[in-house]
């Protein structure tokens, strides 16, 4: 009960006219920046941070919270409308979201994405309020061996994403993992696979790679359509406003995945160093198993369930990441690290002392998260009628516009032409891959997950001095090991059983 009264007090702090106005401004700016490919939530927060310096501390932190939160909403827009994921978690959003757009339902896709983001965020925040500090301390138990097993499970579930030919999925994943090994090895500090180039020392930045592999690759299809004149825009039919509203059935289809994925996402968000990408991906893979055969269209071809799972988990993780940040002072992602910097600028030191030394601040911030969740939902729902007009833009105009934003976005991630080069290589490779039947999503996901896997695997060996038993001795690793074995052995067993049956 004490928690609730604290939260109520937090709301009374956050609800002043000035604070709401600041949250609104932060929400709108955060949405715009989040929707810009190449900026993403990390750079978006960093770029908008100075804006908050003009206000008094409480207002500034509320604005910061809403910038962060709206960024998460905005990341889905470009993924759904023009198939350019603004940041890593949006890869999963683009899979089903853009497929829905191509089928003529951009408004619905945006609606579902906003709705699920809201639900996922809400779940995350409620958990944060009641179980935040407890879960954050539990997350500390995730040491190198636990993280290794979690990542192994995540990697294995990539295979669920690939259709008929799992071998191409494995090849693509291997390529993604190999790209992630370029540059300085973070465990030993050794330089590897840079082939004498200083550009490769720091490895490959993820954002330009995604912009290339997904955003630019699709241009090849667009150019072909444009030249053959078969289609004038992404969607030729007129889009009416009432088409964007969800039917009862669609809402029902989106709700259950939003809840399960929101719970899952929040939990992953609480783990130090796991991040929103792993959350949205794991939730998506799990959704594929849960709703197997019960969806109208398979996941990946424009299924409401897939889109809902990805967006909800992403926002659940965003809220969950506040747990370790506020309770322990540990940022779970790059973006929360920027937030931590922002909070410290205001003389606030998140950590074990925060809730006792600055309760009004801490609860004000949590209350403002609830407010920004509602505000972001309202703002983005209000934008849908205008946003969905984008897909009616003629393809002939779309092509140079997308190419331009690919260049600008790739350049902006590190302010150098190296990003552009990565983007272009990704774009051309993506085209060749798609022609040869090699899927690109596993490559990108493996790229993101593999550095966490590798570092933790090696840390695990280092801390245990080469003793492999640490993967068996700890209870949490045992659980993951069991999941992993089930995931690997069940399909194999089923295949053998089928074969035996057919032979009879």
């Amino acid at each position: 009960m004490e928690t609730l009264s604290m939260l109520a007090e937090g709301f009374s702090v956050a609800m002043s006219f000035q604070n709401i106005l600041a949250a609104l401004a932060g929400g709108i700016l955060g949405l715009i920046v989040g929707a810009m490919p190449g900026i993403g939530s990390l750079a978006g927060c960093a770029l908008l941070l100075p804006l908050t310096f003009h206000f008094d501390p409480t207002t500034a932190i509320i604005m910061l919270g809403s910038i962060y939160y709206a960024n998460m909403f905005g990341g889905a827009f470009s993924a759904i409308l023009i198939n350019i994921p603004g940041d890593a978690p949006a890869i999963m959003t683009a899979l089903d979201g853009f497929a829905m757009t191509k089928k003529g339902h951009p408004g619905k896709a945006l609606f579902i994405s906003n709705y699920s983001s809201f639900v996922g965020g809400l779940i995350g925040m409620i958990i944060l309020v009641f179980l935040g500090p407890a879960l954050a301390s539990f997350g500390l138990n995730f040491g190198p061996s636990e993280m290794t097993m979690l990542m192994l499970v995540a990697m294995t579930s990539i295979s669920w994403l690939v259709g008929e030919n799992p071998i191409t999925g494995i090849i693509a994943s291997c390529l993604g993992m190999m790209i992630s090994t370029l540059g300085v090895d973070i465990v030993s500090g050794q330089i590897r696979y840079n082939f004498g180039s200083i550009w490769l020392l720091g490895g490959i930045n993820f954002i330009p790679l995604v912009i290339g592999f997904i955003g630019m690759t699709q241009l090849f299809d667009l150019v072909k359509q444009d030249m053959s004149g078969e289609k004038l825009s992404y969607v030729d039919a007129k889009i009416r406003f009432r088409d964007t509203l969800l039917t009862k059935d669609e809402l029902k289809r989106a709700t259950r995945p939003s809840i399960t994925a929101g719970l899952m996402g929040t939990f992953v968000g609480f783990l130090p160093g796991a991040g929103a990408t792993a959350a949205s991906f794991l939730a998506y893979a799990a959704e594929k198993k849960i709703s197997n055969g019960k969806t109208l269209v398979p996941l990946g071809e424009g299924a409401i369930e897939g889109l809902a799972a990805s967006e909800s988990a992403n926002n659940g993780a965003a809220a969950g990441a506040f747990g370790p940040l506020l309770a322990l002072g540990i940022p779970g992602s790059g973006t929360t690290a920027v937030l931590l910097g922002g909070l410290m600028m205001w003389g606030l030191n998140p950590g074990p002392m925060l809730f006792s030394t600055n309760p009004d601040f801490a609860w004000g911030l949590i209350a403002s998260l609830f407010i920004s969740n509602i505000l972001s939902l309202a703002i983005s729902l209000g934008c849908i009628p205008w946003l969905q007009k984008i897909v009616r833009v003629p393809i002939g105009v779309m092509i140079p516009s997308i190419l331009m934003i690919c260049f600008i976005g790739a350049y902006s991630t590190s302010n150098s032409m190296f990003g552009v080069v990565i983007m272009l290589i990704g774009g051309f490779l993506g085209y060749i891959f798609s022609k040869c039947g090699l899927p690109t999503a596993p490559l990108l996901l493996a790229f993101v997950l593999s550095s966490t896997l590798e570092t933790n695997l090696r840390r695990a060996f280092l801390t245990s001095h080469g003793n492999i038993a640490m993967f068996l001795e700890r209870p949490i690793t045992d659980v993951f090991l069991a999941i992993f074995l089930i995931m690997v052995l069940v399909p194999v067993g089923r295949a053998i059983y089928k074969k035996a049956k057919n032979n009879k």
Partner: protein
């Protein structure tokens, strides 16, 4: 035999070669395993490389004789666009290069009337310039012509 090979086969030969490079460097140069420290910098990449080589070979064999891969000639438009932007960027900087490409595409590929071309360019280019350059202060490269001035 040779006429049965297609681009798919070439791709898997390339990925296998890439895998071999990763394995050789991982085992040889970067250190696979040391007694005191456990896995070295080459441990993980070498394993991944092994897996890649194996499955590349499997997929290579499967691809022999499969349907030929055809690339679209329309792709050349994009290749030309990218090359044009990169060359212009060298001389006049990235943003002007992109604007010129934008105008050229709308005018000469899409054959829009000038008025429409300019209106669209100002609208879209203005948004891009306003957001990225003025607001977010991204320092775009300026090209060698400007540094002579």
């Amino acid at each position: 035999m040779l006429n049965k090979l297609n681009w798919r086969c070439v791709l898997y030969i390339l990925t296998a070669i890439l895998g071999i490079i990763w394995v050789v460097l991982g085992f040889g140069t970067y250190g696979f395993w040391s007694a005191e420290e456990g896995p070295g910098a080459g441990f993980f990449p070498a394993i991944v490389g092994c897996v890649l080589v194996f499955f590349s070979i499997v997929e290579f064999i499967k691809s022999i004789g499969s349907d030929a891969v055809k690339f679209d000639k329309e792709a050349l438009y994009l290749v030309a666009s990218v090359a044009g932007i990169l060359i212009l960027n060298f001389f006049i900087g990235l943003f002007p290069a992109l604007v010129i490409y934008y105008v050229a595409w709308l005018k000469f590929v899409e054959k829009y009337p000038w008025k429409k071309v300019i209106l669209i360019t100002i609208f879209y280019g203005g948004i891009m310039y306003g957001v990225f350059s003025l607001w977010l202060q991204v320092p775009f490269p300026t090209g060698i012509l400007l540094s002579w001035l």
